[in-house]
């Protein structure tokens, strides 16, 4: 059955390599690349989905990759977002280099697929780079000044984070003599030296850049705003999630900090809790003052990363406890939900930018009259991001807050709930603009078919998971890694 995953990998790789050949064709024929990629991604999702539902414990590529459900969830989420973006790009991405655009997307998807299943630090690093490098190019794909600036900024920060991760890997190899994650973990536990602590912190920092954790977040708003908005969707909803899977696999196993420093405050749970608090609060407070939709969503994306991080705290505190299972389930569920909510919110922003040529919040005034489907989708996505029941975001937040509410991190649950309440301020403000304010012109704007399809599926998921969360919760719970 593992052959299914091999087939998925090979399919994506072959697509990525062959798509640029379509460059040779002239004119409108180039759009075929998008349809091909969408079909391939759909097939890959089918293969991964089938495999995740019917797992068989067979080693895969030696022990570089594992075939667990954690990988399955993240593979499905990241490939799913890429599929959403590909479909939306049918109408969004025009111009001469279209096949290359889809080819790069395909490479990113392959990187994320491999990263989701990585069990080896070097495999993880290779997949990490395979995922990141194409996005540097894609961020600058518009050939506009802003887009190129975003691309350069993103590439520099990305290179830096890769270097940090690589250095951490080299330390881990030097200390334990292995790059297999399970060996590194047991080695660190057996000999908790100061260097092991340093390596742990470096992993936090390196993954933190992708996960958009404060204080590693400063590149996010610029890159998200400058990149083509479809690519921003990939960055916010997919590659960021890949950062989280890497963190779950590596970081949570490393609880050596306390042993190293003997300082009761300098422990991994404490560090994660403070980072979660900072990330939520900085993200929400900054989002409130934004004047551009993409920047607002970028800061909101930072805030959401903070919520996801909450679930890591009980897990790093006592991995075998019920609270840890609850928290990690909440984190994984919020990863799934956030990919849908934030993904579709960015696609709405992409459509508005494409049709109205504006990204400032003023463009959203009276949007309900001009683009009713987009406005409705955006409203649902924003309410879900705020955690208003009965939408999907409510359940994952409830699990996250419940997991920390009882115990030493009760304050984190209080902070999380207050942050949620606070965030509704700016989310509802956008909804108010779309529904209550008057538009500059009342002319109806065309909403392309493929965007509407993506919107309908996403709204269905948000409301569906909201009303019947049991299936999604079970799915996420099945992916929670076993306590080491």
């Amino acid at each position: 059955m593992v052959d299914l995953l091999t087939a998925a990998t090979a399919l994506l790789g072959a697509t990525a390599l062959l798509l640029p050949l379509l460059q040779l064709r002239k004119g409108g024929k180039q759009a075929t690349a998008g349809y091909v990629l969408a079909a391939v991604l759909g097939a890959v999702m089918g293969l991964v989905g089938w495999f995740t539902l019917h797992p068989t414990p067979v080693p895969w590529f030696g022990s570089l990759l594992s075939d667990d459900q954690l990988g399955g969830v993240f593979a499905l989420v990241t490939i799913g977002v890429t599929l959403m973006v590909t479909i939306a790009s049918f109408t969004y991405q025009k111009g001469p280099n279209t096949p290359v655009y889809y080819s790069l997307l395909s490479f990113t998807a392959l990187g994320m697929l491999l990263l989701s299943y990585s069990q080896n630090l070097l495999m993880l690093f290779v997949a990490w780079e395979l995922m990141s490098l194409p996005t540097y190019v894609l961020a600058g794909f518009d050939k506009k000044l802003r887009s190129n600036e975003a691309s350069v900024k993103y590439a520099i920060i990305g290179a830096m984070s890769s270097a940090i991760i690589l250095y951490a890997i080299s330390l881990a190899y030097g200390l334990t003599g292995s790059v297999q994650i399970s060996d590194v973990v047991s080695g660190f536990r057996a000999q908790p030296t100061a260097l092991a602590g340093v390596a742990t912190l470096l992993f936090v920092a390196g993954f933190g850049f992708k996960m958009s954790i404060v204080p590693f977040h400063m590149w996010i708003p610029d890159a998200y705003e400058g990149a083509p908005t479809t690519i921003t969707t990939v960055l916010a909803a997919a590659t960021k999630k890949a950062g989280f899977v890497a963190a779950i696999r590596v970081l949570l196993a490393l609880t050596t900090l306390y042993v190293v420093t003997q300082n009761p405050y300098f422990t991994l749970p404490n560090i994660l809790a403070v980072l979660a608090l900072l990330t939520m609060t900085v993200g929400n407070v900054s989002a409130l003052t934004q004047r551009s939709m993409t920047r607002l969503l970028a800061y909101s994306s930072i805030a959401q990363a903070g919520y996801i991080l909450i679930g890591f705290v009980p897990f790093s505190l006592a991995p075998a406890s019920g609270a840890a299972a609850l928290g990690m389930t909440g984190s994984i569920l919020h990863v799934i939900n956030h990919a849908v909510m934030k993904g579709v919110a960015f696609l709405c922003a992409a459509l508005v930018l494409m049709q109205l040529k504006r990204a400032d919040l003023g463009a959203y005034n009276g949007l309900a009259k001009r683009m009713p489907v987009t406005a409705f989708t955006m409203a649902i996505a924003l309410f879900a991001l705020a955690g208003v029941p009965p939408l999907s975001g409510f359940w994952s937040k409830l699990l996250l807050f419940l997991s920390v509410a009882n115990g030493p991190y009760g304050w984190l649950a209080v902070a999380g709930i207050l942050n949620s309440a606070f965030s509704l301020g700016y989310y509802a403000w956008i909804v108010k603009r779309m529904y209550a304010d008057d538009p500059d012109s009342s002319e109806r704007v065309k909403e392309p078919f493929w965007f509407v399809v993506v919107f309908a599926v996403a709204v269905g998921l948000i409301i569906g998971i909201g009303l019947f969360p049991q299936g999604a919760i079970n799915f996420a719970a099945g992916a929670v890694p076993q306590a080491p």
Binding site: A405, N406, K432, Q470
Partner: protein, 495 residues
């Protein structure tokens, strides 16, 4: 297992998209369809009301119970748990009745985005039915929050000139209040978590088993959530804005239904789940209720806008609910809680009729400013007659049953503390400003040549829907008080 309550919740929720499509396709047909669906819900709720009346559940028990597992997870599970008793059945009845009347009144007063409007009315109704029937705290919270969304759009899209400000203020106040309430629920849940026991969010399971030490913080948290909704001074500042800006039919829903969520929450959760802490601090709540009553009454005197005056009347009347409920806790006199439940019912109808009327007056005269409305007896005689009747109902004049409700609450207040007898002044002030308003608007002489724009007879008949039940209930008050008795004795506790 019964499924009647699920019908109450899901008929409106299913009707919402259908109404949207029907109204888009054909305006008139859609509105007929809305009225039909609303009447269907009303009939179901009347059946529930009668069922609860004819065999009231024992204290602490519920009728029409439905229970099934919604979410299960190790160390965390939620039930879909519905039930009614003498506290919720009158509220279900009045909510569904007001929905019918509101849809009927909206056909003239709402003229834009009608498909969305009628669909949101049903979303609102379904959520409200859920709030009043949920017996699981998280399910309750989910419905509680769904109520916000249609109301936000009602105010923001169909409201008056300052609608955007009012809508934002409304949603921020109420959402902040309800998230704090959720914190309180989680606190209770986690506090009840002991190794080996399955914790629960179910109200009947929790009630009576929460240790006293665990009651104080959640009481405070739920107090904030409910006080914002009720609204209690000083959490009330969103209400005048929301009421003034909301279109008249929506004001009816705001005053008649949404505010009841606060009163219901105080009785069901603040007192029902945290009885010891509530009893200990009952005098604080009693005082706050009294302050709200006086503040609402005195502020209403000063208003020039008819609608704003009615809005402050709401604050005044809802103060009675809190006052009565906590008077029972102090004195043991069951009239307080019975009166509070009765007061919620009568306030919905009396003030609902006035809000709807203010919409018609604005529509017909072009203004709601009391000093500018002159000579209504000649310019709009039928409207003036309804205004006088509605005002009589709101000031608690017999034979309207609002008299009985306020009387019961005040009696319970006096049996709690003798000094609470000053509450008798509140109806006096209320009567004063209503009579003064009638003198200025109805009994004054019209300026210039009066043009007659009056209610149609059909609309006058609709107002009978508000006022006739009030008159009927002063005779047949046992319809509400009999099922309220076990609730009151249960909430009072054995003491």
């Amino acid at each position: 297992m019964s499924f009647v309550l699920s019908l109450l919740v899901f008929i409106p929720l299913v009707a919402a998209p259908l109404v949207y499509l029907a109204t888009r396709w054909n305006r008139k047909g859609g509105i007929y369809f809305s009225v039909a669906a609303a009447i269907l819900v009303f009939l179901v709720s009347a059946y529930v009301f009668w069922g609860v009346y004819s065999s009231p559940p024992l204290p602490g028990q519920y009728s029409f119970v439905e229970k099934s597992t919604w979410i299960s997870f190790p160390s965390f599970s939620l039930n879909y748990f519905l039930g009614v008793d003498g506290l919720s059945s009158p509220l279900l009845f009045i909510s569904s009745l007001l929905t019918v009347l509101v849809i009927f009144g909206s056909r003239k007063l709402i003229d834009s985005h009608e498909p969305e409007y009628y669909a949101l009315i049903f979303l609102f109704e379904g959520a409200i039915m859920g709030v009043f029937t949920s017996l699981n705290l998280i399910l309750f919270y989910v419905f509680w929050e769904i109520v916000l969304i249609p109301m936000f759009f009602f105010i923001g899209v169909w409201g008056g000139p300052r609608r955007k400000y009012a809508a934002m203020k409304f949603i921020i106040f109420t959402y902040a209040g309800s998230t704090i309430m959720l914190l309180g629920f989680l606190y209770v849940y986690l506090g009840m978590l002991t190794p080996g026991s399955a914790p629960s969010f179910d109200i009947p399971t929790l009630a009576g088993h929460i240790p006293v030490g665990l009651q104080y913080l959640p009481l405070l948290a739920s107090f904030i959530g409910f006080a914002v909704k009720l609204p209690l001074v000083p959490f009330h500042t969103w209400l005048p804005d929301a009421h003034v800006e909301a279109p008249a039919p929506i004001s009816v829903l705001l005053a008649g239904v949404l505010l009841k969520m606060g009163g219901y929450g105080f009785l069901r959760i603040s007192i029902g789940l945290f009885p010891n802490a509530s009893a200990q601090y009952a005098w604080v709540f009693l005082a706050l209720g009294l302050i709200s009553m006086f503040y609402g009454a005195i502020a209403a005197v000063l208003q020039k806008d008819l609608k704003k005056m009615i809005a402050f009347t709401s604050i005044n009347h809802m103060g009675f609910v809190l006052f009565g409920a906590y008077a029972t806790l102090i004195s043991g006199n069951l009239l307080g809680i019975q009166g509070a439940i009765f007061q919620m019912f009568t306030h919905g109808l009396a003030v609902g009729s006035l809000f709807m009327l203010s919409g018609y007056i604005h529509h017909q005269a072009g203004t709601r400013e009391i000093p500018l409305l002159k000579g209504m007896k000649t310019t709009m005689p039928r409207t003036a007659a309804v205004l006088v009747l509605g005002s009589a109902a709101a000031m608690g004049l017999p034979p309207f049953s609002s008299f009985l409700a306020e009387f019961m609450v005040i009696v319970a207040g006096i049996s709690a503390y003798g000094i609470a007898a000053i509450s008798i002044l509140v109806p006096v002030i209320t009567a004063g400003y209503f009579l003064w308003t009638i003198k200025r608007t109805v009994l004054s002489d019209a300026e210039g040549t009066p043009e007659v724009h009056d209610l149609s007879w059909g609309d006058v008949a609709a107002f009978a829907g508000y006022l006739v039940p009030l008159v009927v209930l002063i005779v047949f008050s046992y319809l509400i008080l009999t099922p309220a008795l076990p609730v009151a004795s249960y909430l009072r506790g054995p003491g």
